[in-house]
Amino acid sequence: MGDMVKGNIAMGEAAIRAGMHIYCGYPITPSSEVMEYLSWRAQEAGRQFIQAANEGEAMYMVYGAASVGSRVLTASSGLGISLKQEGVTYMAAADYPAVMINVCRYGDGLGSLESGQTDYKRETRGGGNGDYRNIVLSPSTVQEAVDLVYLAFDLSEKYRNIVVILTEGALGQMMEDCEYPPVKEVPFYDWAFDGKYTHGPYPSQMAVDLHAKGMKNNEKRALITENEQRWEAVGVEDAEYVLFAYGIPGRVVLGIVDELRKKGEKVGIIRPISLWPFPQKAFDSINKNVKGFISIETADSGQMLEDVALYAKKKGFGNVPCYFISSPPGVPKSKYVLENFEAIKAGKVKEVF
């Protein structure tokens, strides 16, 4: 039996266990417990911790830390992650790994303190200039958050790519039992700066053939797309409607689908765990006669819905209508989702795509 642990704290502990060497960040609700916890836990575990003057500075600290080959973590929320974006794109240009946790709060600008999923587009497209992609993983339970943080460091290093854990205020704040993986002691990566010029002028951004590097990046992204799609699916083989939801809405909708199927309704769910790469392979087992795709997000507009529609087209479901259910800030209420689903089935709602 595990103990009840808060999502934010569980992610902090998972980072320590995954061999994180250093944390750099700036507090913001609802992510702050990650850094509050690490402020003492990192020291206890012989790791480092810095409270930066702002999120931008924190990200350039991450950039420096990655350059000498350390496992580095930052966490923030909403607009805090916005401030980091220049650093993120610099890191992409240098092929540096790092893990960045976004405990998403709902809204534009200062937004709110409430839980939301309004950052999907930024995280999956990359919020900075240029043509990079971050790997984006989204948990729906505290246990999954722990497992994904652990995985994130490995993927980040494997592909030399930033991995974003996109979670929500609700998951960061809630408690659930979880089992922690073992503590890893990870040495600094050996491709990094060691002060001896071992790797020559790496990573020089002045002298590279940018297009050639871009083509190599495309190969890397194709490899990630092939290897790293993750999702949970229930009932899609015979579904008349397939619902898409990730994170906290993902688990809520799983419950709805479970209940409806017990009543004999042919409805299925795809819960993406990797948001980039989007789990397009999940479409392969969907009933060819499906009547509609529905994305349920804690956001004003259908952000993931655009990916659902894009991959539906790619996978031969181009004529299947794609609907959106916008759930207000917080944890979606099953009753609300069900009512909206009924309205869609009754033809009272127009598809978005």
Binding site: H21, I22, C24, Q48, I50, A52, A53, N54, G56, E57, A58, M59, Y60, M61, V62, Y63, G64, A65, S67, V68, S70, V72, E86, G87, Y90, A94, F188, F193, D194, G195, K196, Y197, P201, P203, S204, Q205, M206, A207
Partner: protein, 246 residues
């Protein structure tokens, strides 16, 4: 510059700055100090965005590509994670004092144990000579075509003094390059700044008044004269703070 002396072994080739530019001399001084202190194989230079972006393919040392102005943050973690490495942040004045003011001051505020070399050429050389916080009152630049109006843009900034008087750092100095004697003094400041880092005393910063003949629209010689006559009276030379070694 130590004339006739063999160039430091870690300078692969001359960095292609404009003729008469101060950057070339300062880079050479930095590399000489690193070599003389025995750190050729345990050093990282943080390069900025600015004319000194050209550094990394010409120096045979680990060179970190800083984001514009943000080396104060990146050098912080590099030095903390690699405490035995000599970490030198080489920055232009626009990089270090304009866009990077927050990072520069915060690193000094925390007394991070790395060394900053700040090249004060009074403008943004790289991007065509726009006004910097160090541009002089009345100075014509491409964003102050009628001369810098300090009523609207403030008086030129003296970051070394701010740091020396506000924060508990190890070493702060300002040097220039207009005579061999000044060059030698500047070199001694740079070396002491690095020594303060090596001894773990704390943060160190050396500002160097540096000519930018191209954007000043002056000959190399007239540029040096401008430094003596116009800049030194406002930007006094010498050590501003020296906590001494351990």
């Amino acid at each position: 510059m130590a004339k006739g002396k063999k160039a430091p072994e870690k300078i692969l080739r001359q960095v292609p700055f404009c003729p008469g530019c101060g950057h070339g001399i300062i880079v050479r001084l930095v590399m000489e100090c690193i070599e003389e202190l025995g750190y050729n194989d345990n050093v990282l230079i943080g390069k900025p965005v600015g004319c000194a972006s050209l550094l990394d393919n010409n120096l045979a040392v680990d060179t970190f590509t800083g984001a514009h102005g943000r080396n104060g943050a990146s050098m912080t973690t590099i030095k903390r994670l690699k405490p035995d490495m000599l970490v030198v942040s080489y920055q232009g004045d626009g990089d270090c004092y304009n866009i990077g003011f927050s990072e520069t001051m915060n690193a000094a505020y925390r007394n991070e144990k790395f060394t900053v070399i700040a090249v004060n050429n009074g403008n943004f050389g790289m991007t065509g000579g726009q006004m910097a916080w160090t541009s002089m009152p009345g100075q014509k630049t491409s964003t102050s075509v009628n001369g810098r109006n300090v009523e609207l843009s403030g008086m030129p900034i003296r970051v070394p003094e701010m740091i020396a008087h506000s924060f508990d750092t190890a070493y702060v100095a300002r040097g220039a390059l207009f005579t061999p004697a000044e060059i030698n003094k500047t070199k001694s400041y740079i070396k002491k700044a690095m020594q303060a880092q090596i001894d773990g005393v704390g943060h160190s910063l050396v500002e160097v008044l540096s000519p930018c003949p191209t954007n000043w629209g002056l000959t190399p010689l007239a540029s040096m004269e401008r430094i003596v006559n116009e800049l030194v009276p406002y930007f006094p030379l010498g050590e501003i703070k020296n906590k001494g070694g351990k």
